[in-house]
Amino acid sequence: MSLRIVVCVKYVPDATGDRHFADDLTVDRDDVDGLLSELDEYAVEQALQIADEADDAEITVLTVGGEDAKDALRKALSMGADKAVHVEDDDLHGSDVMATSLVLAKAVEKTGYDLVICGMASTDGTMGVLPAILAERLGVPQVTLLSEVKVEDGVVTGRRDGDSASEQLQASLPALVSVTDQSGEARYPSFKGIMAAKKKPVESLDLEDLDIDAELVGLAGSWSAVDSATQRPARTAGTIVKDEGEGGKQLAEFLASQKFI
């Protein structure tokens, strides 16, 4: 039987660009180039490896976002995913993690799945809670923050390296997995992969397709609100000293003056 894998990915503003908030205090997505969140590339990679090991598997990449978010899907398709689902609706603008997770859960259910794979966090919001929320909404086991993952005979096992311990985890499918940047280098799309991606199907869904009331999403439907966003003043220039042989001692003097020693 075919193993149905859905990978949730996010299109995020490039962290090396000058990221900003828009006037409505949502993330400004026009001001800076976007790309597939680096941490989601690891999720796509693990999906590809799991699919390789399975007799028969199909990988769907799923994203919620504006027109540009298709770029993230194309990247995942060019890495080797089979098809894509793009949820786009004007009413989604400003959705927080609760609203977004609701949409993702409905879209995952509509797509059909045995295994959902997420990156550990997005590189813009960096909350890292979406996988757990999605597992709760879907009512499936969460096997999260894995640095190693394996799927065999309807069972997912993985290693979670926490602060105080390393744990070996196991759950039966259907399940939700999130992987860390330690799970294995993500592959670069090949030229062949990039060409093939152009022909792969991208399904577009809106809120009506997912049977979601517009009031439940967007800024108004979110359960948290940003009241202000202030750019930090640039740090005042610090003291910079060239080491002429006494640099370590000078630094110790500075640390002492700041009461660190």
């Binding site: 960096t126 890292g128 499936v140 926490g162 979110s222 003291t239 000293v241 000078q250 640390l255």
Partner: protein
């Protein structure tokens, strides 16, 4: 007075510092009621009471250790129901955030993660967060349900404020989902004797300039002279010189200590994302053009192999 539910992070009854910081913040919003789960839960009561907990709810069951996250969510939900708090505060650890997130879904409440400060506001708690590699500071609040907020370590001082801290056993019935993810084995991380990276008041980090695993002892020696935690840049971790659990940055840990000392780290945006909120930043790098120098309070342009041992000796001498 309104009650604030505080989730306790402890190891066999030893309460970790971020939880005590949470109690300081909780007292700004109301009377803290602490929830401690698992082995040694009752042993947390004394220290929690000393830091302001009016009540300590406890629950121990094998489920907390045998299954991942969900049994703890069941317990937090039971506590939420029992207490009807004005807010739920949870330490921003990887597990803490997952517990908080699942609770928020269940009680139909909004969630804020990684707050670095918390104040009482007219419409509920107002959380301060750092966004976009700390280039922005945002103020947020919850608009639906009981605010569920996770707070980063080092966000508030630990203050003694003795309260009753009466221990009460919490009745928890586990959901069907609780046994979904089995913990087959658990290997405790070997203790280095150094402070936990995310909690440390001082962090000493090494990067590409350290030039090999065999040289990290220089970074460790400096860290030990200052009672600091050791961090590493992604370049150093990817090269296999230091464990990933010590990585500071966008894909590693985010730290905000009183003092951060970056050695041989150029200061790529990914690294800055993880340390930019440090109060005082010091760097040692032989490249005068390294972007890290844009952030520093004090920088030494020089060879870390000269500067770091000299600094270590000087610190040790001054401590005498």
């Amino acid at each position: 007075m309104a009650e604030v539910l505080v989730y306790v992070d402890h190891v066999d009854g030893a309460v970790r510092k971020p939880t005590l910081e949470l109690l300081t913040l909780a007292r700004r919003l109301g009377d803290p009621v602490a929830l401690a789960l698992g082995a040694g839960a009752e042993n947390t009561a004394a220290v929690l009471a000393e830091h302001g907990a009016v009540k300590v709810l406890t629950s121990d069951a094998p489920e907390y250790a045998e299954y991942l996250v969900v049994p703890k969510v069941d317990a937090l939900q039971a506590a939420h129901q029992a207490v009807s708090p004005v807010a739920v505060l949870v330490p921003s650890s990887a597990e803490g955030k997952e517990i908080a997130a699942r609770l928020a879904v269940r009680i139909e409440s909004g969630i804020i993660t990684d707050a670095v400060d918390l104040e009482a506001g007219d419409e509920g708690p107002v959380a301060t967060q750092a966004a976009f590699a700390a280039s922005f500071t945002t103020k947020s609040r919850i608009t639906k349900g009981t605010p569920v907020i996770t707070v980063k370590p080092n966000s508030a001082p630990v203050e003694a404020s003795p309260a009753a801290g009466a221990v009460e056993a919490l009745a928890v019935s586990f959901s069907d989902a609780a046994s979904g993810t089995k913990v087959l084995s658990r290997t405790p991380r070997e203790s280095t004797g150094r402070p936990e990276l995310t909690e440390a008041a001082i962090v000493v980090s090494g990067g590409r300039g350290v030039n090999g695993a065999e040289n990290f002892h220089l970074i460790e020696a400096l860290a030990d002279s200052l009672g600091a935690a050791v961090g590493a840049s992604r370049a150093a971790v990817d090269a296999g010189w230091y464990p990933h659990s010590n990585q500071v940055g966008q894909t590693g840990k985010s730290v905000s200590p009183q003092l951060y000392i970056a050695n041989g780290i150029s200061g790529a945006i990914q690294h800055r994302a993880g340390m930019q909120t440090s109060k005082t930043i010091v760097a040692v790098n032989k490249d005068a053009e390294a972007p890290i120098f844009d952030l520093v309070d004090y920088g030494i342009v020089g060879d870390l192999f000269q500067v770091v041992p000299q600094l270590t000796d000087e610190v040790n001498t001054r401590k005498g």
